[in-house]
Amino acid sequence: MRPLGVGLVYFQELDSLFREGNPELAVLELEPETLWEKFHPEGAGGEPVYLPNTEVIARIAALPQKKLVHSVGFPVGGAKCYGGDYVTPLAAAVRELNAAWASEHLSFNTFSTPSGLEQVGFLLPPRQTREGVELAVHNIRRLALGMQAPIAFETGVNYLKPRADELSDGAFFAGIAKGANCGILLDLHNLWANERNGRQPIEAVLDELPLDRVWEVHLAGGMLLDGYYLDSHSGAIAPELIDVAARVIPRLQNLGALIFEIQPGYVPRLGLAEVRRQLTLMNELWRLRPNERIIVSSAAASSMGAKEIPDDISQWERTLGMLALGHWPGDGANGSCGLVEDPAIPILQKLIGEFRSGRISRALHFTTTLMLASWGSERVHAFLNEYASQRYPDIFTSGEADRFACYLSEHLDHLPPAPYLRDVLRFEHALVRAALYGESAKVQWDIDLTELFDALEQGCLPAAVTPQKFTMEIAPDF
């Protein structure tokens, strides 16, 4: 096939770039889960289903760029994935976008607890052993069966120290690519972050990889925090990383796409003009590729049954998951795989905390604003930390928001006063639960709530609000 070209990960904030006829933007990569809603048809205890926003996906499919699918919610590096059938909507996204291939992360984000599966709310590094290779190979083959598309895995970021009892990063990636007969999404920013944080140097990783399996390269910008270089997708590509890419790309005989990643929250900071400049830089890199034709082969799909999970992997996931969430794993220091001492644990805890508060503030925007305006930052941070220590995360914004709203409702009587907080929380929580569980609710108001929301949108509490009694009914519509 012909290579696809240079592209961007799609977000609404970048939509105009995909519509302006820029010849330097040839590829659109979609992270489909960002356009899904989670829904529990049988209520809170039941299995979720994932509902894609078909209208928005159809609009994206109509954009002129060639398409790729990059899954972000169900990584292939771990023993378990969060519940529900996610393969069917993923496969539908590949089909509707006519994606040349799909990719997933070589990470885990779920772990087993005595009370069942729980989520970490973040992509964590898998156990990097021979058994870990076998597990990832199994997962990729099973995913390939459902997807009916070529599959690549992304070379992940890993903030942990390298370990003597594990394979090198390069050997781990190579073993999986060969074992699963799949492609590699070579995330050079991840590998550069790994090197800067003390893991295997990027050139040494590349020397171990089957480079003919690299179909796609990701580039991004990062930032420093607490001594770590983060894969934060927060800005322009660093010149040093451009140099690395310029050395690597001529070696990638089957390179099909070169993609720039930026988080939507950082787009205003970088600016669309600068995103265009990144595309220009990447097109210069693109011209260094060696071939005009590439081979993208399908993974060896197989209908293998459930795989027995080695104790070592289960323990790794449980221990790292618990520590990253700020919980003591309970197996004692000897049973913690040495992870207790890893200096990256605090940064993982900090980042996961920010992911969780970010999800809460997205869905419960006015509740969050009201808390901040009434209590101040310090008190709100303390309460968010208290919540995080008591409840597990959810990668879906709706799920995290529901858990937080329940927790806040239970504690309202013991918290400092905040005008209208109970009403605003009840309103936003009802919207979330209608979408998440199909529940109906009635909310009684004693004020003109638009005046209240106008004030909150200005970042402050209203001086006065016109009294107005009415009932609002929030109901599912399906």
Binding site: V9, E31, E33, T34, W36, N53, T54, H70, V72, L123, N190, A220, G221, M223, L224, L225, L230, S232, H233, S234, Q263, P264, P268, R269, L351, E354, F355, G358, S361, L364, H365, F366, T368, L372, A373, S377, I395, F396, T397, S398, E428, L431, V432, A435, D448, L449, T450, F453, D454, G459, C460, Q468, F470, T471, M472, E473, I474, A475, P476, D477
Partner: protein, 77 residues
């Protein structure tokens, strides 16, 4: 309930409707914007392993509404 439909985004993805009593005096368009703000953002965030700044953006705005963008504490690009 004697109510009117609180019309929302025609996008079929919207699976939630909000009804209010017919005699309310406030701006329904405003209410639509408010509910859309909640319902539009219920999926997963994108792929990265860095800082998610959504909460900090609101926090900075509430602390000082005139500052639209500030450097994150501890974050250096």
């Amino acid at each position: 309930m004697n109510s009117i439909e609180h019309t929302q985004d025609p996008d079929p993805f919207r699976r939630v409707k909000v009804y209010v009593t017919r005699d309310i005096a406030f701006n329904l368009d405003k209410m639509n914007q408010v509910t859309k703000k909640v319902l539009d953002r219920l999926g997963c965030e994108g792929c990265h392993s860095g800082r998610m700044i959504d909460f900090h953006i609101i926090e900075d705005f509430v602390v000082n509404p005139k500052l639209e963008l500030q450097d994150l504490p501890g974050g250096r690009f």
